[in-house]
């Protein structure tokens, strides 16, 4: 039984149909990359999973159809969605942001906080500052750290590399890999296909709201169409 299964999922924004029937599967513990051009429906796919947008078609979590898929409900089931733009609470302190991450947990121990700070030592230095004063890279780490506090089963990330320097992007992805090794299923939407495919084990390519290609990341890296369109060679 897979952790997540999407069957023929459609989604629309008002009159505009963004997903035309997306089918994909994610096994527990996997690291999946979603690739595609702008407007292909990658962000919408994540929103469909986290319950932020209304959909038709089936979305099964742990083999069960989830009926009232609101963001709060999916968060309680262990889905952590880090949207494009980090989604930090800019006027709250770093510490408060992290405490918020643990909202779905009954309580959190200082052990959890300590773990997170071990992972991201820079955040400890800024812990009392307003989150909005952090640099882009630090905010992305904060977003990840907040997700960690939730001890999610499924971590959804939308364009984590956006606007960040290559060195920082590598740091982020190595943290993601570490989290994945710790048991968290990771699903990343990325424009930076190169780094996404090197970190992920499986990948899907979306085009105009549909899955056009799917398989092991290594295979996709070698596939001609992917190389031409997304890897630039």
């Amino acid at each position: 039984m897979s952790l997540l299964e999407l069957r023929d999922v459609e989604a629309r924004y008002g009159e505009l149909r963004a997903l035309h029937g997306v089918t994909l599967t994610v096994e527990e513990g996997d690291f999946v990359a979603i690739l595609g051009a702008n407007g292909a429906g990658k962000t919408t796919t994540l929103r469909a999973i986290s319950g932020t947008v209304k959909t038709s078609g089936d979305i099964l979590f742990d083999g069960q159809k989830v009926f009232r898929r609101t963001p709060e409900a999916m968060a309680r089931r262990g889905v952590a969605h880090v949207p494009e733009g980090r989604g930090t609470f800019a006027t709250l302190s770093v510490l408060d942001n992290l405490r918020l991450g643990a909202w779905v947990q009954r309580g959190f121990s200082t052990r959890d906080l300590a773990n997170v700070f071990e992972f991201f030592p820079r955040l400890y230095d800024h812990r009392d500052q307003q989150a909005g004063t952090l640099s882009g890279g630090e905010q992305q780490m904060l977003a990840l750290a907040r997700a960690m506090m939730a001890k999610p089963r499924l971590l959804l990330l939308d364009e984590p590399s956006l606007g960040l320097a290559p060195l920082v992007v590598r740091e982020i992805f190595s943290s993601l890999t570490q989290m994945n090794e710790g048991g968290t299923t990771v699903m990343v939407v990325e424009q930076n296909a190169m780094i996404a495919l090197s970190a992920a084990r499986h990948a899907y390519v979306l085009e105009t709201g549909r899955v056009v290609l799917g398989g092991e990341a290594a295979d996709l890296q070698r596939a001609e169409s992917v190389r031409r369109s997304y890897l630039g060679y």
């Binding site: 986290s50 932020t52 609101t70 963001p71 709060e72 968060a75 309680r76 952590a80 969605h81 949207p83 989604g87 930090t88 609470f89 800019a90 006027t91 709250l92 408060d96 405490r99 918020l100 991450g101 909202w103 779905v104 307003q130 909005g132 004063t133 952090l134 640099s135 882009g136 905010q139 907040r146 939730a150």
Partner: protein, 293 residues
């Protein structure tokens, strides 16, 4: 010298009332982003309810408790029925809606209880005590004490509790808060409920000295706005400190600056509002939201 002290003491007493109402205004603003122009009238309504209960034979404390509960519920109901539908809509629209509430509640008070002023017997005695030539009453002390207790409780709620964190998060970034699992709708309703209860406190504090009638809080509202703006629209501490400052300022200026005198208190409050908004909009205790581009 005693006169100055007297003015300060009386100013603190009125300032406590302004601060309590300002606290309610700040609470709603901080947790829902809305400035509730109807806050004063809702406080008056709560005071009227408390008066009615006492008029029917209830003792003060049970009546007050019931009023607090009813006001809390009323705030929740208001938020769910009238505020939630337009949440996230245009600012102009929301402001106008709360103005509509102001007018409607004011009319309701007149309709049910009439326009004549009623005597309100609060828990504290209003008979004056004189210490060193300065006169004040237990009511005055009570007002200041209650305001301080209220702000401490609210401050603790926001800073130290999980609930307070949820309230703050729901206000700062409702979309993100939902993704974190916060039931934003419930938080917003809670914010309004709490603020309405605080408003009830302000109304009950004001009624013994201001005399209970439908327009009781009309001018207090402006002073409360001045206090909230001065203190910083998102700071509970700022609201109460601002209120006390405004109370004292109005008294001192009214007594010692002759061309202002007692008639221009409202204009002075307006000057404070304009001054702060134009010079330092975040107020004394507010923090400018810093945004990295």
């Amino acid at each position: 010298m005693t006169n100055v002290l007297q003015q300060i003491v009386s100013g603190l007493a009125s300032g406590g009332i302004y601060g309590s109402l300002a606290l309610a205004i700040v609470l709603i603003h901080r947790s829902t982003g809305v400035v509730n122009f109807a806050q004063g009238e809702l406080a008056t309504l709560s005071a009227f309810i408390c008066w009615s209960l006492m008029d029917h034979g209830w003792a003060f404390w049970p009546a007050f408790g019931a009023t607090l509960a009813l006001s809390f519920l009323g705030g929740v109901v208001l938020q769910q029925t009238v505020i939630r539908p337009i949440h996230g809509g245009s600012l102009v629209g929301i402001v106008i809606l709360t103005i509509g509430l102001l007018i409607a509640v004011n009319g309701l008070d007149s309709w049910i209880w009439g326009g004549a002023a009623k005597q309100f017997h609060g828990p504290f005695s209003t008979s004056p005590i004189s210490v060193g030539g300065v006169a004040f009453s237990k009511q005055d002390i009570g007002v200041v004490a209650v305001s301080i207790v209220a702000v401490v409780l609210i401050g603790l709620l926001f800073a130290k509790t999980k609930l307070g964190l949820g309230l703050r998060a729901a206000a700062v970034n409702p979309v993100e808060a939902r993704l974190a699992g916060v039931r934003v709708g419930a938080m917003l309703a809670l914010g309004w409920g709490l603020a309405s209860a605080l408003g009830a406190v302000a109304g009950v504090l004001a009624a013994p000295s201001l005399f209970l009638e439908p327009n009781m809080m009309q001018t207090v509202l402006l002073y409360a706005f001045a206090a909230a703006v001065l203190g910083g629209m998102d700071s509970p501490v700022g609201a109460v400190v601002g209120g006390l400052l405004i109370g004292v300022l109005l008294n001192l200026v009214g007594t010692y600056v002759h061309w202002i005198g007692g008639e221009l208190r409202l204009a002075t409050a307006l000057a404070v509002i304009l001054g702060v908004l134009l010079v330092r909009p975040v107020g004394l205790f507010g923090r400018a939201a810093v945004r990295r581009v």
